[in-house]
């Protein structure tokens, strides 16, 4: 039911989410192949902050394996939460996500071809560049196709679905031709953070921070946009500029995330949806909440992914979809399909 009174204020929800994320982050530093007690974790972090990191085994596990992975999970999760929120507002449709716009599959196609064609020649480091480039190119194509249509939101969705299908076919073709590298590609496509390095963090964290900053300012305009394109214009929103801005933002955040971690589904779909139910549709609260909520969800999922079947690793994309899809279906059952979240 829309508009049950929300028991918690947006501020309280933000505090709870933030605290939970910090707690889980510390927990995640402790668990894994080798259990490390909290005291040791804190000591290692403190020492490295003071500039003289201990070069022992525990230090390496905490500071070069677990910490970058945890921070990357936070940054990617936050970026996906924000991208999902921006996409849902852009389409006035709570079921939208960077997926349906073709960004994710566009970025995936670039990465797969990057790995196949140039991975050997110029090194694996170039793959994310390919991925981001193709994600942006595909979004630009979808955008240009959609601008010609009348109702922007709808034609964007349709163009996105079509282009997305095309990219998936390209990816499938690449997999078919991959030969002995099939397994690497498939594993990558499933999405995961096991290769996380500080370099990845240095790419993703600024991208997410930029996304967040870019979304804080149009938050009131995003509220107005929910009443429809025409009315938003009448109320003073530069609708076209808002749409273009949100689109660029979704494309950038999603393709950078995909380039680093593969396709991790459902975070961007579910986080804004759940938070909108918990705190209402006001974007001033939703923007920070979706960032923290996405971070928390991906952090939890990734920690589970590397511990439930330890020492083996479950691709986190499998985990988010396996848990995310039923949760999402349950939400749909509860709310009725197509009704906006409130």
């Amino acid at each position: 039911m829309a508009h049950e009174t929300h028991p918690l204020s947006p501020r309280q929800i933000l505090l709870i989410l933030g605290a939970a994320t910090l707690l889980v982050a510390f927990g995640a530093l402790m668990v894994g192949g080798a259990a490390i007690p909290l005291k040791e974790v804190v000591r290692q972090c403190w020492q490295s902050l003071c500039g003289h990191a201990a070069d022992d085994a525990t230090g390496r596990i905490v500071l070069t394996t677990r910490l970058p992975r945890i921070i990357l999970a936070i940054a990617v999760g936050a970026g996906m939460g924000l991208a999902g929120l921006a996409a849902q507002t852009l389409f006035r449709n709570p079921l939208a996500s960077p997926y349906v716009m073709g960004v994710s599959s566009g970025a995936a196609v670039g990465a797969v071809f990057g790995m196949l064609l140039v991975g050997k020649a110029i090194g694996f480091a170039a793959v994310p560049v390919f991925s981001v480039a193709s994600g942006l190119v595909v979004t630009a194509a979808v955008f240009l196709l959609a601008r010609r249509g009348g109702h922007f939101g709808q034609s964007l969705l349709l163009a996105g679905i079509a282009v997305s299908a095309f990219c998936s076919a390209l990816t499938a073709a690449a997999l078919y031709l991959a030969g002995e590298r099939l397994q690497t590609l498939v594993f990558w496509l499933m999405g995961g953070l096991w290769q996380a390095t500080w370099r990845d963090v240095l790419v993703m964290a600024p991208a997410t921070a930029a996304c967040f900053t870019a979304l804080v300012f149009p938050a009131p305009a995003m509220d107005v946009a929910l009443v429809g394109e025409r009315s938003a214009r009448d109320l003073g929103v530069n609708v076209r500029r808002l749409q273009n801005g949100l689109l660029i933002l979704v494309a950038a955040a999603a393709s950078v995330a995909v380039s680093l971690t593969g396709v991790i589904g459902f975070v961007g779909l579910i986080v804004p949806h759940v938070l909108r139910m918990a705190m209402g549709a006001g974007h001033r609260g939703l923007v920070p909440a979706c960032a923290i909520g996405g971070a928390l969800l991906l952090l939890v999922a990734d920690t589970l992914a590397r511990t439930v079947a330890a020492p083996a690793e479950v691709p986190v994309g499998i985990l988010t979809a396996l848990v995310g899809a039923p949760v999402f279906l349950w939400l749909l059952q509860r709310r009725g399909v197509g009704r906006p979240a409130a």
């Binding site: 829309a2 508009h3 006035r92 300012f217 938050a219 009131p220 305009a221 509220d223 107005v224 929910l226 009443v227 429809g228 025409r230 009315s231 214009r233 009448d234 109320l235 003073g236 929103v237 530069n238 609708v239 909108r276 209402g280 549709a281 006001g282 001033r284 009704r339 906006p340 979240a341 409130a342």
Partner: protein
Amino acid sequence: MNLRAENITFGYDPREPVLRNVTLEVVPGRVTALFGPNGCGKSTLLRCLNGSLRPQSGSVMLGDRPVVFMTPREIACQIAVVPQDTPHDVPFTAAQMVMLGRYARWDAWGQESPEDTEIVQACLRRMNVADLADRPFSHLSGGERQRVVIARALAQEGRGLLLDEPALHLDIAHQLELYRLVRTLAAEGLAVLIVCHDLLLAPLFLDTVVLLAHGRIIATGRATEVLAPDRIAAAFGTRVRVAWADGTSVHAALERDEQDPLP
């Protein structure tokens, strides 16, 4: 501040203009009404007037400024629009919906001030929907939604108000109330343009009637002159009997054709 369309021609497809050489002025203190058959370009004209659509030729001036050079925000501070229909599925309460009317006046941080809240409350009261303030917009009836949207337009505190068939979902008492409100707003100095089909009540509250047909203005003047049987026949292609009783009440009735079945 006058809102004036000067000789504008507009077509969604430039080869097939919906509006041809239309000149119209909305004047402060007066209620101007736009009558005309379905699809004759009334709503299109309204959207040209607030700069949402850009005419292929001619100009729309707000005071001495061309509307095309103004930002949506600047326009929204001056002109409020009550659209013909609003999506039902908006995830806001009535009060939040009205608060959106204040958007154009917020700074970059978009903080709602206590003054905004007061204005929203006042507008809700004025439209008799104060008791619905915390109800979800999607749960309201058609008439209640319409009054909330009008309250939102009032919250914009513009100097011009453009209403597109505002009486559509209202019962006769609320229609009367709406027309009285529109009169009062004009008396307070607003320039009001109202698109309507109502030959029964509306003519009693109008200063100027503009009759639009096939994208052209075919008559402009006082209601008693413009809403005459021959003019109506020319615009709508149907014969209507209109009787004015000394300007205080009006009777409009369809003239029965031979083919019309008896009730």
